[in-house]
Symmetry: D2
Subunit: 470 residues, 4 copies
């Protein structure tokens, strides 16, 4: 699915380490798959904030000079693919501003649904906005609470936000991590020597050598100061209603991460095994579409007994430039990225594992490549159910009309992709593979059952459309 759905954001923070900025750099590197558009780091020396943001990859942005300039004992970092707000350097994060209590940096992963209302309210009282991001609105929420003296002041602020958010805040005096009461997006807490580390995925904890402690809980806020760490529940645990985004397990998270209490690679292997049970086929070889189908192919092969082999070679040199070269060369770009190994598929009945079909464009090219390389039959198995509904909590599927599964019946998709058979994972089967309880997951993009309702009339997600369905 790599080119069709777009990731969103990744967060990393560390408080109390001599190499805090370099560790943040390493952490962002391992979260790069969560956002390739822009990146940034803010750090503090206990008095002021320093920051550096840029369009582009971690790799291109952070030179030794930049890291040296930011060098401090506490830092937060962010990688971004825009979900709201345009593609501009001004929208890159961490967002840094000053208000009555001094400087603050904020990094956000998610999508607020009441941001227009909040913004309108502030503007009515003279508020000035320079970006179109959720994050700037969050800063205004915090600035409005500047006179409150409660130590859980930030938590009170978060209560006025609706939608999905995992957040990191940094001021000269504290680092704060928080997660919305539905726990849409992951956020994990770790420890590295005396330092606390927070990251969107555990792969970043591993990367910096930190030990995983636990996930930040839905509706929980962690505040870390020179005095230590303290936890606050701005929504009482018994009132939270977990809605973990199941797409993190299917597609977004890295296989070596654990999110929502389970290893991603192992869960995907279970998806593959479940697919082998739901959609068995008489075939000669199981091949993954790298890298998204790798884990599931192992599960499918083990469950089915059909041998696994590498039918596609991934070209690691294909950069972003090529793909953007021109519209009519897009197919060439896909074909450039993955090349079939003729000897693996020639004359064979092939089962292909992939993580999703969104628009179908790239799937079609890959299947054509297999046919051209001599495959006798091509059977596709997809590690999620048909993808019929847009996401309003941070995943950019750009409206229902783009989703091939939303437009076409299964048989038609199979024909359109030139497949001998096509099998999607069932919603029930999928939920059997993840860590229970099943109703702790958001499956709205498959079922259309949003925790906050979507208004078909306005074509927009809206709180004013009616009460929550789920």
């Amino acid at each position: 699915m790599s080119d069709e759905a777009r990731e969103f954001c990744g967060l990393f923070g560390i408080w109390g380490h001599d190499e805090a900025v370099f560790k943040t750099y390493l952490g962002l590197y391992s979260l790069q798959h969560r956002g390739e558009e822009s990146c940034g780091i803010a750090s503090t020396d206990g008095r002021e904030l320093l920051s550096h943001r840029a369009m582009g990859h971690v790799n291109d942005t952070f030179t030794p000079e930049v890291l040296q300039k930011l060098r401090n004992r506490a830092a937060i970092g962010h990688v971004r693919y825009s979900t709201t707000g345009g593609s501009r350097i001004e929208n890159a994060q961490p967002f840094v501003a000053t208000y009555a209590r001094g400087p603050i940096a904020i990094a956000h992963n998610g999508n607020l649904v009441n941001v227009a209302e909040l913004r309108r309210g502030y503007e009515r009282h003279g508020g000035v906005f320079q970006t179109t991001t959720d994050t700037e609105v969050i800063v205004h929420v915090i600035a409005k609470s500047c006179n409150q003296q409660r130590e859980d002041r930030y938590g009170q602020c978060f209560n006025s936000l609706q939608g999905s958010y995992s957040l990191l805040l940094l001021t000269p005096h504290e680092m704060v991590a928080a997660r919305d009461p539905q726990g849409f997006r992951p956020l994990s807490l770790g420890r590295l020597e005396d330092a606390y580390v927070v990251a969107s995925e555990t792969c970043a904890l591993n990367q910096v050598g930190a030990e995983f402690i636990r996930d930040i809980e839905p509706g929980e806020m962690i505040r870390i100061t020179p005095e230590g760490m303290k936890s606050y529940h701005f929504v009482p645990p018994e009132e939270t209603r977990p809605h973990h985004c199941i797409f993190e397990l299917i597609y977004f998270a890295r296989p070596d991460s654990s999110v929502f209490g389970q290893n991603v690679h192992e869960t995907r292997k279970k998806f593959g095994a479940q697919l082998a049970r739901e959609h068995p086929v008489d075939a000669d070889v199981v091949i993954p579409i790298p890298d998204g189908g790798n884990s599931a192919a192992v599960g499918y092969a083990q469950e089915s007994g059909i041998p696994l082999d590498f039918g596609f070679i991934r070209n690691h040199y294909v950069g972003r430039t090529f793909i953007q070269a021109s519209q009519d060369r897009r197919a060439a770009g896909v074909a450039m990225k993955l090349s079939p190994v003729p000897e693996v598929v020639r004359g064979k009945r092939v089962v292909v594992l992939d993580d999703s079909i969104v628009r179908g464009t790239t799937s079609r090219v890959k299947i054509a490549q297999l046919r051209a390389a001599g495959a006798r039959e091509v059977h596709m198995r997809v590690t999620c159910p048909p993808h019929c509904f847009p996401c309003h909590y941070g995943i950019d599927f750009q409206g229902k009309q783009e989703l091939i599964a939303a437009r076409s019946p299964l048989a038609e998709i199979r024909l359109s992709l030139n497949l001998d058979s096509l099998g999607y994972l069932s919603v029930e089967g999928m939920l059997n593979c993840v860590r229970p309880p099943k109703d702790n997951y958001c499956t709205a993009c498959f079922t259309g059952e949003y925790i906050v309702p979507f208004c078909e009339e306005t074509g927009k997600f809206s709180l004013e459309c009616g009460g929550p369905k789920t």
Copy 2:
């Protein structure tokens, strides 16, 4: 003086022209001497604002692609050298933001003195700031007035600003130009076909082919809409107290501009003639330090009867890179920029005209060059009085201790620069050369008489230090 004092800002705006953005580009080009650090243009199509800002020169920033992207029938532009606010892209102008009444762009030349107080007030009510510029504060002032329906609403806002400001505002519906009640900085109005043009100096009007109409008056605001132009005096003319910055005439403005009702080149020729009367000398040749001393040298030569010649050749290829190469090569940088013509000065008694001596560093190099080229005597004449006091209205002299004239008696400066004689223009003589009345000019950097007082104790300019002196 070119490397020692720093210019501040230049403004250009045009409303109602098909080539508005290209004209703004040309206008900024001819105002580049007013600010080399960053530049920007904002334009509108009547619905939204487009903008592009960057560190660096107009020449490097605006490519045909950028100009094409901004293409609209109304635009404002800005070139900047920071007087307040650090050297960062975030501080580049025009500043663009959104508030209750929609998007607004603002370009500012000057220095507000009550900005800290204003900012503190907004922060107390939840205000959020992303830069350290005066301009962001001005936008907050305007945003607070969003519910006022008076058509001179902006003028009411300007009344709460103290200090120097020439301003340009652009929204989808109007362009606004305004000048502080003291008229510290110049701002001229012109007409190009059906379009109105506003610029810091008339050289920009000439450059785009616009006809000069008149200066914007101190305390006046001009509002240009599709319905036409309308003038408002937010301070009644009889209550304004003009304090035009005389340094515009001495140094900042381009010789081909007219500012404060007089041509700069002609005024400088008068300065030179006045110097010949105040400080005559028996000499063989009059030579200018290019380009700052050119105009005055003509006046000195004509009044004294001593022939003018070109004793220094300016190397046009010396870029910023060289000068910044390294501290110990700074002298080499000065020597690189200007080369003496030995045949002009060898064995001669030379009168050198320059526009100012600030720290004395570059003057010392130039005089040494003349001596090395064989000059028998070197007599320096400076087209302004000794420069003893800092400026608080927009000129960056960085404190009294840097000003050689503030530290040392005249005789000592002469010795330190290795001169046979040194003559400064008198305050009275200078004021005799400018367009009357004399007390319409701010001469505080020579006399220490500030219209708003400077507090010696705090080492800062401050409203709280006492009432106005002048």
Copy 3:
């Protein structure tokens, strides 16, 4: 092995196609693994040669503008990692020059061993050299033959070259492809519509949609002109002594390519199966070091019956910048590129497949990662024999002292890498897996038996050291 041994060069040429330059660009893309340092394309319109070369990747070098500028119906391209000649743009290829017969472009993969002698000869007669490359010497050889009228003139020239070379030549009138009489480096011929295509590996033929015809034979030269293709054997087939570089099969070539008459992926699977027979072990899981160990891991798992799983995740975002950041961060760079999946290896006995151990540095990091992730035992299997001798035909192993296998006995290497067991493929076992006859392969880097002798005294490869050994 990815960071330790360096690839050398890749060639692509096409004659008679409207999209010749774009096809060359695609072809070079798929040969990028053969040389990341510089790249270039030369094309002809039948009258003159156009060319573009640059340091860096194909991806960064060839913009749509550059491709458009080169647009012609015939082109050759080159990707390079320097084997001889320094890392400078002047040394990038195709090398373009003019001599008595007009312009010529030449692209070379290999390493000549008599280049110093040839060069000295030309210099004695007034020859001028601007680079330190083999390629410039080859052009001089050709220029010297300018008065010969034989149509196999180029072949006569090639007879004076000693060492390894696959070559592509382009003039306005012809494209020539040739391979040394030992056939050290691969070179394949294909057809795309009416055009002839030549490429270092068949993956490039597949990429552009060309049909594979056959390999260029050792000692053969193919000349393509508007009149068609003609073959010449500048060394009679019966006198050639094939010495195909076995490292192409082990490491260099892409798995989807066929080189020396066999598919690389399938051959590597056989290496893996052979390793399972030579070095069986009681274990729980087989994991590859991506991507070099992927193919062999499939073979090892199938032969041994131990399940295959993905124990390492490859981070696709790690660019060259990171690795070069600093010496002390090199280990971090390796760890960044591959992350273990703890759930796959925790508590397990792991067999790890890799393609080689050169210095041992990166292997040590990877094994430490597996231990840290909880692996109970780590058994390493290497798909080639111990690597004890330098290569003189184009592979950059930089002298014997760098080769861990050349310095240390097996048991010591095992301990130094902290392995439970270590198994290398035997020379005999390896040769059993490749397409016979076995003595058609060069295995000098494992056996020290060079077809052209290496002089231990001078520490250099030299023709003067004695006659050929093999």
Copy 4:
């Protein structure tokens, strides 16, 4: 004339100084006006040559890092505008190559007329060429002489060159400077402490603090080695026929330089005074077109008694980008570079001094600017005779049809430029101003009398067209 005729090349060399490379950098800076297209420096440590060349200005090319890398006790440098050879980095100088006697760097100012013949000869014997420059041919000439043991070997080589050349050669063992027997281009020798310095103009000697010794003589070669300096006349002085390019005095050289034994500024003042005698006019003010007309304006004003004033202001910020922006904006570019001062010319009868009229395009814009600024009458005086013939010794006038004076009678040019009067300097008057004897100067571009004949039939300069005329 600045945009219409193109300068050619500048040379700088220094042998035996700790700061040799930095001095070369400074020297090239002051010679930048002689070539803006590319620049380069080669240096030696006595064993090998290091070099760095790039397209663009000295300012952009030589960073502290590059200078540090080149750091050595001997260096030569070059700035270039292409006269022969295209605009490519390969053609930038110094040209560095290796031949039988080791590495050699060569920097060349001039234009050889027998280069095609020489090149053809070498190609016939297997010579290989990589560029289209004269300089590469010169290296081949030198390489052919590699077996000669005479210490004036280089001089013998120069005897086979025909046309104009000032040359600098650098090898690890020596620096050589030479000038063609006609002495077309200037080349001066200086001394800085124990080091010898050679430069195209004395302004570069002044810039680095070197003392002027004397000009290199026509037909002379200076060889500097660790043993000291030695002079050789490869053409006996009595056989040389000086033909100094008079355009150096009119336009190319910097006013502070002395070339051909006279200061450029003083000579131009004499041109101005002579013009006042040849073409007197009743006028109110004399104004120069900066900077080319500056010196002559001083002379015209002094001779005529009409006061000098600055009627044009030069905008120092107009970079190359603007000018190249687009064809239809070229006029805007000229107008951007020079702005009239209305107060100086309004209602006045103006005499304008310029250094030449080539195509007339820019002159027309400037005169229109003066008219628009209110000038009552505009009288143009040009400091050279009508420019009717192309130059074949290094000045790029691109053929007769471009020269307005060659196409049109004087009266027509005057009308076309909208002038009240137009006066060119006479050939005789011009020669009266320069250092005698008069027949030591080449005036072919005014008189058509070439020392080497130009073939009207072929439209090319050619030795085969007949014997020398002069």
